[in-house]
């Protein structure tokens, strides 16, 4: 009933916020720092078996025969699974189930899972892997998305959910809003250019791990390093063909996810099935190499943009055509394809927009959602193109962005509702902090400043399976000890959602934050939350918590007021105590107040929920990318370009992010810095690449270069608070938006530094030298 209520942006108690808005350490910070935190791989159960997987050595092949006999005969081997044991297809998006836990007829990339072996220990399982014999018939491997677009045979997927696949096209979305051609014709300047965003992956430090146990009563428990407990429960029920009520999924402490743990993965089905077959607990921990194959990282995109603007800088139209390299499976690809166009329509206003995005299958590790899902790549292209327009029109790049600001409480060209919007203040902040006006033109050659802006969702109103139930549910238990326990399905993946839950409950019920504990992401104990993706948890779980808290708060205030014989308006709760506002001598501890309330109302507790309002454009796909609130970001990056080596060094990155209200500024700043770090890493170092043999180019943390601390620039987090009318106390997201502008801002800063436009990622030193030579007309060195 309260699902769609808004709770306002004000503090719950008259005298302002007691907990919110202050820096609080993470709820699990000390446990992690001292090694006490229990991760999935820390779980050891009596009699537990260990699983290893056989993977395809070919990028594309038909399986002719699998011989498991020798492996089964090895002492210590308990079971061997092949695709035939888990024939039901699944996929995180119910419209595109195209995955099997183990390959059934075909393998689609080097590293695709083929068999799984459960043995008494890892070494025995590894030894048994070498005894498996698989015969393959190799097929043409698609390593280039253009090849996959042009050639329809052999098809990587023939049909998905009974529907024939058109060649190797995974998804195509064409949408047009307003008259694009007229807009381009009316423009004084049109920039028409091509851009490329390469593949990158999440590199969470904890590799994927799952443990399963099957009880004699037929209850399956799966502990998994997942960010989507609820969807994993549903997927297990679907694939194993057992009722959801017989499945309990628990997410232990998680060592990072970034979108890389938001699909159901082969290992979860495999440990579950093996636990059911063997009656023993079963664990599978992937190696770092296997995590690179599991991937679901950033889609490589070939992007073509045409943008028109009038002399005064006002945009007239944007036309985009995008080819998306999806890798071997759909994953979230349907959403990615929409997001590649749908999320570009802010913070700038343009009257006409068209995008034509095509995702193709290729024989590479499957792409999926990585921090800033689907929108980091188009944002890169577009923000560089905006800089090209500013250059062409002779307008300061920050000024150009200001001129096109869409405003607050408005609607985008594709029909998305914009509520709060602090983008102008973000621009002001980075302009001020970087001394943009004073320094930009005066920096020595090789030094430059660049700006970029962006927008991102705070959750979406598109649940991956359509339903009218709340997107987020919570439950509170108020104990006689004075402790409040929060039960939430929300997944804390290191972003701090459990800490956010603690802060909100402490604020609402006037508690010392230490008196709030959080039990999260256990499907037996916690009401459903859809999971940690789309930057939805603070917004949605936060609102659900306020909803639940206000129900019990009303009871507590009433019970205390009745006991004291005063009107309820005189009762005030804060930091563990309850006061009479007009007689400060009269106080109770929260614990005593809970006792009074329990005497008056019986056992205390409440549920709370949140669902999004009706949102989105009135067209097919119009709800995809529709969010109850959008965050906004601007970066200014300062670079130093060594024109002799081509190396770009980011000296400073100023990050201004409109997160609505910063519930815990320390966590918000951490998310902003972490996002910018990740964006800079993608721009300068990381490359998730498949070589000419169809093999991952270097599936290790040595070859896949993520920046070390000495490679990380000064990151300056500048929090902007716009107070969203629908967010919890006005809060919006902070975990993904602040990644977007770092990539284009670097390109734009390099242009300022030495006059070259970097339009292809990554910005390697070799590419910089090539661009510098192209500019001066100097020939490339000849290899004598």
């Amino acid at each position: 009933m309260a699902a769609r209520d808004n709770h306002g942006t004000d503090a719950p108690w008259k005298e302002g916020f007691q907990v919110v808005g202050r820096a609080h350490p993470k709820i699990d910070g000390l446990a992690k720092a001292t090694g006490q935190a229990i991760y999935t791989d820390d779980i050891q159960l009596p009699g537990m078996l260990h699983v290893k997987m056989l993977r395809s050595p070919h990028p594309h092949a038909r399986i002719i025969e699998i011989d498991v006999h020798q492996a089964l005969e090895l002492e210590g081997v308990h079971a061997v699974l092949t695709g035939a044991d888990l024939p039901k297809k699944y996929g995180v998006i119910p419209w595109t189930p195209d995955e099997n836990a183990l390959a059934t007829e075909k393998v689609r990339f080097t590293g695709d899972e083929v068999c799984a072996i459960a043995a008494i220990d890892e070494d025995t399982a590894n030894a048994a892997l070498k005894l498996l014999e698989v015969k393959y018939e190799q097929l043409h491997a698609f390593l280039d998305p253009f090849d996959a677009l042009e050639r329809s045979e052999p098809q990587i997927h023939d049909e998905i959910r009974g529907k024939e696949v058109r060649g190797n096209v995974s998804k195509n979305v064409k949408l047009e809003f307003g008259d694009v051609e007229a807009g381009l014709e009316a423009a004084d300047a049109v920039v028409d250019d091509n851009y490329f965003f390469h593949g990158t992956t999440h590199t969470a430090i904890e590799p994927h791990c799952a443990v399963a146990q099957y009880s004699p009563h037929g209850v399956l428990t799966v502990w998994s390093s997942t960010q989507i407990t609820h969807y994993v429960q549903r997927a297990l029920a679907h694939v194993l063909e057992i009722p959801e009520a017989k499945i309990r999924v628990i997410q232990p402490c998680l060592g990072g996810a970034f979108g890389g743990k938001s699909d159901p993965f082969a290992l979860e089905f495999v440990v579950a099935k093996l636990a059911m077959i063997t009656g023993r607990p079963v664990k599978c921990l992937w190696t770092r190499e296997e995590v690179f194959y599991a991937h679901r990282g950033r889609h490589p995109m070939h992007l073509h943009y045409r943008t028109g603007a009038r002399k005064d800088g006002r945009l007239t139209a944007v036309d985009a055509k995008i080819l998306i390299d999806g890798g071997s499976y759909s994953s979230f690809g349907l959403i990615t394809t929409y997001y590649s166009g749908q999320l570009l329509t802010g913070p700038y206003d343009f009257p006409a927009y068209r995008f034509d995005s095509t995702r193709v299958f290729t024989n590479k590790p499957p792409c999926g959602p990585k921090r800033g899902h689907g929108s980091v790549q188009p944002r890169f292209a577009f923000e560089v193109q905006l800089d090209q327009i500013a250059e062409k029109l002779g307008i300061d790049p920050i000024e150009l962005r200001r001129k096109n600001f869409q405003g607050e409480h408005t609607e985008t060209v594709n029909g998305q509702r914009i509520t709060s919007n602090g983008f102008l203040r973000c621009l002001d902040e980075v302009e001020r902090a970087s001394s943009w006006k004073e320094r930009r033109v005066k920096l020595p050659r090789g030094r430059g400043l660049g700006v970029a802006g962006s927008m991102y969702i705070s959750g979406t109103n598109y649940a991956v399976y359509p339903n009218a139930m709340p997107q987020a549910g919570v439950q509170l238990q108020l104990d006689r000890s004075g402790l409040v326990t929060v039960f939430t399905g929300g997944n804390d993946i290191g972003q701090g959602s459990n800490s956010v839950a603690r802060i909100i409950v402490a604020e609402e019920l006037g508690l010392d934050p230490e008196d709030v504990r959080v039990v999260a992401a256990d499907t037996d104990l916690c009401p459903v939350d859809l999971g940690a993706y789309s930057s939805r948890v603070t917004f949605m779980v936060g609102n659900a918590l306020i909803d639940a808290c206000r129900k019990v708060r009303k009871q507590i205030v009433q019970a205390v007021a009745e006991d004291w014989g005063v009107p309820t308006a005189r009762v005030w709760m804060g930091l563990g105590e309850v006061f009479d506002l007009e007689d400060r001598e009269r106080t109770l501890s929260t614990r005593e107040a809970f006792h009074l309330t329990e005497e008056r109302f019986d056992t205390l507790g409440a549920t709370g929920s949140y669902n999004t309002p009706e949102l989105g454009g009135d067209y097919r796909g119009g709800t995809i990318g529709a969010s109850p609130a959008y965050s906004f970001t601007a970066h200014v990056v300062e670079v130093d370009v060594d024109e002799e080596t081509g190396r770009i060094t980011v000296e400073n990155c100023w990050i201004a992010h409109d997160c609505g209200r910063a519930l815990n500024p320390m966590l918000v700043a951490g998310q902003m810095e972490g996002s910018a770090y990740m964006g800079i890493a993608e721009a300068l170092l990381e490359s998730h690449d498949v070589n000419r043999f169809g093999l991952h180019a270097g599936p290790s943390l040595l070859d896949y270069r993520i920046p070390t601390s000495v490679d990380t620039p000064e990151l300056h987090a500048l929090i902007v608070e716009s107070l969203d009318p629908e967010g919890p106390y006005g809060a919006k997201e902070a975990g993904e938006g602040p990644l977007h502008p770092s990539v284009p801002a670097i390109s734009n800063a390099v242009f300022d530094a030495c006059g070259i436009r970097l339009k292809q990622l990554p910005f390697t030193p070799g590419a910089v030298l090539t661009a510098l030579r192209a500019k001066t007309g100097e020939p490339a060195p000849v290899r004598a």
Binding site: D123, R288, P699, L702, V710, T764, G766, L769
Partner: protein, 339 residues
Amino acid sequence: MLRLPKFQVAAPDSVAEAVALLEQHGEDALVIAGGTDLVPNMKHELFTPELVVSLANIRKLRGIKQAEEGGLTIGAMSTLSDVAASEQVRDGAPALAQAASLVAGPQLRQMGTLGGNVMLDTRCQWYNQTYFWRDALGFCLKKDGTLCHVVAGGNKCVAAASNDTAPALMTLAATLVFEGTGGQREIPIHELFLADGIYNKKVRGEILTAVRIPALAPGHRGAYGKLRERGSIDFPLFGVAARLDVAADETVAYASLAAVALQARPVLLKRSAESLLGLRPGTRDFERGVDEAAELAYRQCRPLDNVPGDSDWRHEMVPVYVRRTLLAALEGSGPVHHV
């Protein structure tokens, strides 16, 4: 996590016992010093020894000493962080201290040893991978196979020497003390290496016990330059050590340049170094000499696609790093590194 294959460990107290074990077990035994390279290589099933002979308990292999005849004697088990931090090495062999300071990252230098770095296995992007990966690719001629993925049709392994300290020691004319069952011998470091990526050393079955660096000429200047993508952890994409001995008359009396991360052995850039002889730093002639040295190095050094990264860019960086490292040596600065 990748599992280590099963093996036995012996940790003798003396070199004599260690070399006896090596002789007894032949190819089934390997020496472990800091283990920072051997352990991952064993996880990749590049080495599957039955016996690993640890040098950790042999105390006399540690320590940095001023030699009686002048110069330094550095125990092979001295850690890279000790070598990098040692005042004696910084004063007496600046290029070596700089090279040691840039090997891998701080944690690895705490474990990794000078001897281990000198004796480092060659590296290749097609070789330093897991068993699964190498199997999927087709095993290469360095391990388990016959193909070369760097040079199509190649039948000679071109895996790259990747030890930062080797070129520094070559410019210092260091000698290496080996001990085998037949006793001790001392060989100049530039005679150690072979142009064979499968095993690029002349010595087998003996243990490197010490590195000797002769007393330096007055006016010795040295530096090391390392090209890599990140500011830490990574092996060199190119490394160059420079030495200039400036005589009393302020001309270059002796010069030496050595480079690594090209082919199977670290190489002396003789002609390149010679172009500086007799020149007086600070003059136009010297500047031209440096340019010539850089140009000759560019011609001599041909980076291959053996280590990850863009080999054309690595090639372009050869003259840049040679020039910068020579100038750093002259100024007494360095190392030349991007962070």
